[in-house]
């Protein structure tokens, strides 16, 4: 394989690897591609409250089954004086068990859960009902008759089981319906959902109750919301009993399905569980870093995000340098602009970032200008090069100090940023410019100086771009992409833009 093909192969490999890792990190680990992306993080608190009777206590709370649109971040159990254990039952239901040898009076136990809500929300359950034969509810003959009449009415107005359920719920919610009122009076402890399940069971339609929480900002001390699910033969269709709407309420976190108790307390009475919820917005990246399901990916375990914060900040600017270098390569290879010193523009741009552009340009030009003027005297005396450069470095430092003091006295604080300029680089720039001036004249100095500054300004614009800063820091994999692009540019053997100008006379007459 010839070397050009090798380079292309290598470059494509780097590009694929770099963009693949970036894509993976974005898609699977949830790193946002744009800066400032936020995730809504919900904190849900279940408080369990009961009166202890002085015996040993065992409180057992169902825990929500996470998955689908919710991603688990963390959970905690707060229960002073209680031992606790979280268990998973055979049917997959997670529960927490609080235990205490002896307890008296009112007891408060807390379970706190943090989770992130994501977009997709198709949670149709296709698991068929457990029992084919439903056991008819036990109720009075009158109630049974009313139930049957409700079903009959609903059947007339509907086409299938879901629409029948909807009609039934509408009737049960109708305050003017005598049948509904009768059932509510007959079974005062039952909610509309409970009643609907009983009526549906009477019609031999499997239905069940789901309890969960519709995540809405700042709900406090509420009971779990109820959702009714009805088996339509192929899948379960959810309904909100209160308004007869089909489907889950938006942002519904399923806590517990029927057949499983929400809270069991032995050794206590008047037990109840109440929920509170609050949400806040956290940067997607910190959510991605903290999520237990994602953080043990090797890509993150061995990433720079595991470094101490100050080192991370150092890397923030280091990782930007390749973007600047890419600009230099483009300017050299594709445009053909001469700069004094290959990567000097990158260093100048880094100083501009600290000072901001206008003041950076002013201070840079003034320091180099005054430096060149002072340096012209040094040409007249006989000095070894090292000594002369050292003198120039010291001159640059004196100039920096002088500029800072003067600008401070004048109240122009912006010019104080002068200290961010790399003085050795500036000294070398002055030295080279000075030689260039003597050898090739001021025109060449202007053209190279202008070239360097133009490239530096471009690099500054690239490096201060919020999107590029975000990408280079959060996706260091882009280094591979940059390397691949530079490899490809390194194979470019076509014309440079400025060559089209330089050789313009050769193009005519053809």
């Amino acid at each position: 394989m010839n070397s050009r093909a090798q380079v292309y192969l290598f470059a494509i490999l780097l590009l694929v690897l770099g963009s693949g890792l970036t894509f993976y990190k974005h898609n699977s680990l949830g790193f946002p591609l744009t800066p400032g992306e936020l995730d809504q993080v919900w904190t849900i608190e279940a408080s369990v409250n009961f009166d202890a009777k002085g015996d040993s206590i065992k409180a057992n709370l169902a825990l929500p089954d996470l998955g689908g649109e919710f991603e688990f971040i963390s959970e905690s159990f707060s229960s002073s004086g209680f031992g606790f254990d979280s268990i998973t039952e055979d049917n997959g239901q997670r529960r927490v068990v609080w235990t205490k040898r002896k307890g008296n009076g009112n007891q408060q136990l807390y379970y706190r859960l943090q989770l992130v809500q994501h977009e997709d929300a198709n949670r149709t359950d296709k698991e068929p009902p457990f029992d084919e034969e439903l056991t008819a509810p036990e109720w009075s003959e009158a109630a049974q008759g009313v139930a049957q009449s409700l079903i009959k009415k609903a059947e007339e107005l509907s086409a299938d089981i879901p629409s029948l359920t909807k009609q039934l719920l509408l009737q049960l919610n109708d305050p003017k319906s005598a049948d509904a009122s009768f059932l509510h009076d007959e079974l005062p402890n039952d909610t509309t959902g409970d009643l609907a399940i009983k009526v549906l069971t009477e019609a031999n339609i499997p239905a069940r109750q789901i309890r969960g929480l519709a995540l809405v900002e700042d709900r406090k001390n509420i009971q779990a919301d109820e959702v009714l699910e009805v088996w339509g033969g192929e899948s379960w269709t959810p309904f909100t009993p209160a308004d007869a709407k089909q489907g889950f309420p938006p942002g519904f976190l399923v806590w517990q399905r029927s057949g499983i108790s929400m809270l069991d307390v032995t050794g206590g009475e008047n037990s109840r569980v109440r929920f509170s919820m609050i949400s806040n917005y956290l940067p997607s990246k910190s959510v991605a870093m903290n999520s237990p399901s994602r953080s043990h990916v090797p890509l993150l375990d061995f990433s720079i995000f595991t470094l101490p914060v100050d080192k991370q900040n150092a890397f923030k600017s280091i990782l930007l340098i390749p973007a600047g270098i890419l600009v230099v390569v483009i300017f050299r290879v594709l445009i053909g602009l001469k700069t004094s010193g290959t990567f000097m523009p990158v260093l100048i741009a880094l100083a501009f970032i600290q000072t901001n552009l206008t003041t950076g340009l002013i201070t840079f030009l003034s320091i180099v200008g005054v430096g060149l003027w002072l340096r012209s005297y040094l040409s007249k005396i006989n000095l070894l090069l090292v000594a002369r450069i050292s003198v120039v470095v010291i001159m640059v430092i004196i100039l920096m100090a002088g500029f800072s003091v003067i600008s401070y006295k004048l109240g122009i604080d912006e010019l104080m940023g002068i200290t961010f300029f790399p003085m050795i680089i500036i000294a070398w720039t002055i030295e080279r410019m000075s030689i260039l001036w003597e050898e090739d004249g001021p025109k060449e100095v202007m053209s190279q100086g202008f070239g360097s500054l133009l490239v530096a300004v471009f690099i500054y614009l690239v490096m201060t771009n919020g999107y590029i800063q975000h990408m280079t820091f959060n996706f260091p994999e882009t280094l591979l992409i940059e390397m691949g692009v530079i490899l490809i540019l390194g194979q470019y053997s076509g014309f440079r833009l400025l060559e089209l100008y330089r050789f313009r006379s050769l193009g005519k007459g053809l």
Binding site: E439, Y492, L500, Y501, G507
Partner: protein, 314 residues
């Protein structure tokens, strides 16, 4: 004139551009390990002398700051000489002394320099001011070329030198570089020197260009270029063709000067010759390079020169 040529125009013209030169010729045909020989004029000189290739006479070399003190002794008896950095590039740091009055030295422009000035220049050279990468350097003192009368009239103050591009041992393109008042006696085209394209078959002028524009005559001396013919032409071609064997560099720029008494001399060699020769010749280099690239069998020096005269003459 249009401000820009289009890429397709330049492609049709056969222009060799910087990226292609670097990628397809310099890095493909010039092995890096061979660079020191041409980048260091002292080594070039030694190798050329060993191979029997004519070069300008050397007065001496200065390698340490201590030796600078002996400058007076070294240049004793020389009224004209040239000080050069051994590793300088693009003519940087070259000091030409054409007249001497005791310890006052005169540049071609007539500007006087003291012995102290010379010593300062030497110290600059030794500390690597002109060398690539700022490496410590050696200074060379050479006898001034007394250049051939036939070329004197085409040059203002400086030495007119002949640049020949030699590819795989074949001289493929040549030009004469004439210094002008605008170029301050220097032979660099981008500083305003005149480049005269030369026919490979005859050494006669094809076209002359200053700052990208065609000129008929030298701007300072007024001599018309159409009468220009380089003497010793075939000898020059052979001399440059031999530099391929001398250096092993496939893509090479040879700078030749013609001394009144000694004939053509190799002044220096360049592993990264510039592209301006195409402007001077009004001819692209790429087609000729490809033609030579297509040749497979080995050729002797004479065969290569013959081939070049036959194929690249105009």
């Amino acid at each position: 004139m249009n401000l820009f040529a289009t890429p397709s125009q330049l492609r049709k013209f056969g222009l060799l551009a910087m990226n292609r030169r670097n990628l397809d010729f310099i890095s493909s045909y010039n092995d890096r390990s061979l660079y020191p020989l041409v980048d260091n004029k002292l080594l070039t000189k030694e190798a050329a002398l060993n191979a029997g290739i004519a070069v300008p006479d050397m007065i001496g070399s200065i390698e340490t700051p201590f030796q600078i003190r002996q400058l007076e002794k070294i240049i004793e008896g020389y009224g004209q000489f040239v000080i050069k950095p051994a590793r300088g590039s693009a003519g940087k740091g070259i000091l030409v002394i054409t007249e001497r009055d005791q310890n006052t030295f005169y540049k071609p422009s007539g500007a006087p320099l003291s012995l102290q000035d010379l010593k300062r220049d030497l110290s600059n050279i030794l500390s690597g001011l002109y060398s690539l990468g700022g490496k410590p350097d050696t200074a060379l003192l050479e006898a001034l070329i007394e250049f051939d009368d036939s070329l004197t009239k085409y040059s203002f103050q400086g030495v007119p030198d002949i640049r020949v591009i030699v590819f795989k041992g074949f001289p493929v393109m040549a030009m004469l570089r004439c210094s002008t008042a605008a170029s301050d006696g220097k032979a660099n085209l981008h500083q305003g020197a005149v480049g005269v394209g030369l026919s490979i078959s005859s050494g006669k002028a094809l076209s002359a260009v200053q700052d990208g524009d065609l000129v008929e005559s030298h701007p300072d001396t007024g001599e018309r270029f159409e009468e220009l013919a380089i003497p010793y032409w075939e000898e020059i071609l052979k001399l440059t063709a031999r530099c391929y064997e001398l250096t092993g560099l496939g893509y090479l720029g040879c700078d030749v000067v013609i001394d009144k008494a000694r004939g053509p001399l190799i002044l220096e060699l360049n592993a990264r010759p510039g592209l301006a020769i195409q402007i001077a010749n009004q001819k692209g280099l790429y087609a000729r390079l490809q033609q030579v690239e297509g040749l497979t069998e080995a050729h002797s020096i004479d065969e290569r020169v013959e081939y070049a005269i036959r194929e690249f003459g105009e």
